[in-house]
Amino acid sequence: MILTGADIVVETLIEQGVKTVFGYPGGQVINLYDALYTRSGRIEHVLTAHEQGAAHAADGYARATGEVGVCIATSGPGATNLVTGIATAMLDSVPLVAITGNVPNSLIGKDSFQEVDITGVTLPITKHNFLVKSIDKLADTIREAFAIAKSGRPGPVLVDIPKDVQVATFPYEPSLVVEKKLPKPAKHDKLKAAVQMIAESQKPYIYFGGGAVSADISEEIIALADKIDAPIGCTMMGLSLIPVKNPRFLGMEGMHGHYASSVGQDEADLIITIGARFSDRATGNVAKYARRAKIIHIDGDRAELNKNINVDLGISCNIKNALQRLIPLIGETKHPEWMARIEELKKEEHEQFERVTAKDRITPYALIQEVAKHTNPDTPIVTDVGQHQMWVAQYYPFEVPRTFISSGGLGTMGFGLGAAIGAAKATGKKTVLFTGDGSFGMNLNELATAVTENSPVVIIIMNNKVLGMVRQWQTLFFQKHYSNTDLHTRKTDFVKLADAFGMKGYRVNELSEMESVISQAFNENGPVLVDVAIFEDEFVLPMLPPGGSIEEIITERSDQS
């Protein structure tokens, strides 16, 4: 059948299994929006308040499901507004397809109205991008974009389509959903080398990251840990893959990781790393990282091997397949001394926690526990970026993979609200957004989207009236020079703000109110906001100073009044 380019784009999206797209119309995508209009029964479009919100929503949609998220923006400012969202997806390897309109081919390069070379702009922050100059390649390019986005190590792909290509006509033939290409299986001799190293280890430690979530290997990791009697730690991006209540699971390690997890990793003699990339936030000072340990690194991306840390055995492969083949090759072992040491570290960690956590005020810990009383194991838990994010990463009792949705690599403040709307749309489930007053202030315009969509998003603002994470650094490393991190002069009333956007807002000032207000908020249908006042000098602990090593771990405040 002969269709216009705009129709072909939308038909191809439908053909590739896309049910929802997030976007914002504009001059160079009017044709595309017309094609969406006439197909509104077959594909849903969510109008956001800003293109950045659309990119984060598509990202949240993708993280919650593992499916490719799709966002649409017009040329020029529409396209550049996607940039932060695309970079966020890139750093966390999220499958995303961004479609932008551009000025007609005849006007490209002439600094036309709302013209931007968006493939040039996004070149370093996409897995790949395309400028589709002629209609004969349009459908196949979009299919290719989906294939690239979800294959191997997933990532964002941008497809830029000039207006005349959307207007032109061409035959369209439906095609199958493109296949997700997986990395090659591991070589047998590499697996045998791993078996040998595991057999020689007395203190093995299993360590996984976002690649493990993407490969969906919670069962394999637990089976491996049980067989070799090892504790399990993870990066922030790995959270929610292994249930927090699993006794082997020590939680996140790294800059704000759990004490037992970070120290356990330091004391290990073998670190079996699965789908993690040794980010500076996870390793601290690389020269002092894992000095006592040999490292096995199993990853889907060959370029990650020996990139940040030199490893003793690197295996680039399909990691699920590799673990499934590795586990039967390993003999069952026990390491009672090592596991006893781990228990000791967990006890120390608990004692530290008891010492530093106040009981007489609304602590982030108490708030998170209170919220967790109202959630289900599969409730998506979304965060913004900053102290609140670390507290959620440390304390929330995750049980089901893909329920922790957070910007790790890029650390994008303002990610949360869009992502929560996307996650709620993808799962159809009540979704929790933990945010801070700083992060929330960045993209709170998306409340309009949440109201329009009646998104079941419970927004918990940990409001300390400061940019808490930077303030913590200023307290520790900059002699309390609180340069531009004090927000007390802002008089924003978040409850009235919620009202202005047409949704319910609540406030919690006192510990005594917390239980009933949180409960009320969870009884609302649709979006609801709870502004919770917390102490401005609450610290995220423990903390490994940036570029520091395990000896420099800060477990309590020395300056506390």
Binding site: T119, L123, K127, H128, R302, A303, L305, N306
Partner: protein, 170 residues
């Protein structure tokens, strides 16, 4: 680790913008390029980018792996020095005056290069060879007054039955 000079040959789709993608990867990850050439190949679907650079073994393998991740890159190969032919071409414009002419002509002769332009005041030498040969020639004629110079950068091909083509692709 030892810093070494080496040459990487990259087979890429013959499409606009590929050079930018390759160069951008080097820029973004902080790898320095000594020289870069792009050329046609035996198959019009592909172009060949030859990059010469300096770095240790870990940089080298990281560059190869990062290049292989680029969508339009079909094959990447380090051209081992002892198994490959390296060539570079330079055009060098020199002052043409009676006092130095004989010296220039004998240098041209010794280096098996040739004179491709000769005018009352200038002459132009074309020299082909490995980088070291070209640099030796430049060092020799520099005192005689180089007016202008351009070089192609290194191209390289493996000796014998090794090929770089899409058949051997990743």
């Amino acid at each position: 680790m030892n810093e070494e000079r080496y040459v990487i040959a990259i087979l890429v789709d013959n499409q606009p913008g590929i050079l930018t993608r390759v160069a951008s990867m080097f820029n973004r990850r902080g790898f320095n390029i000594d020289s870069l050439t792009v050329s046609a190949t035996e198959d019009s679907k592909y172009s060949r980018i030859t990059i010469s650079l300096t770095g240790d073994e870990s940089v080298r393998s990281q560059i190869v792996r990062q290049l292989r991740k680029l969508y339009n890159v079909k094959e990447v190969k380090v051209m081992e020095r002892d198994k490959s032919v390296y060539r570079e071409l330079a055009l060098i414009k020199l002052r043409n005056c009676p006092e130095t002419r004989q010296e220039v002509l004998s240098a041209v002769d010794i280096f098996r290069s040739k004179i491709v332009d000769f005018s009352p005041n200038t002459l132009c030498v074309e020299i082909t060879g490995e980088t070291s040969k070209i640099e030796a020639f430049i060092a020799l004629v520099e005192p005689l007054g180089i007016l202008e110079m351009c070089r192609t950068g290194v191209v390289a091909i493996e000796r014998g039955c090794s090929y770089l083509n899409s058949e051997t692709s990743l």
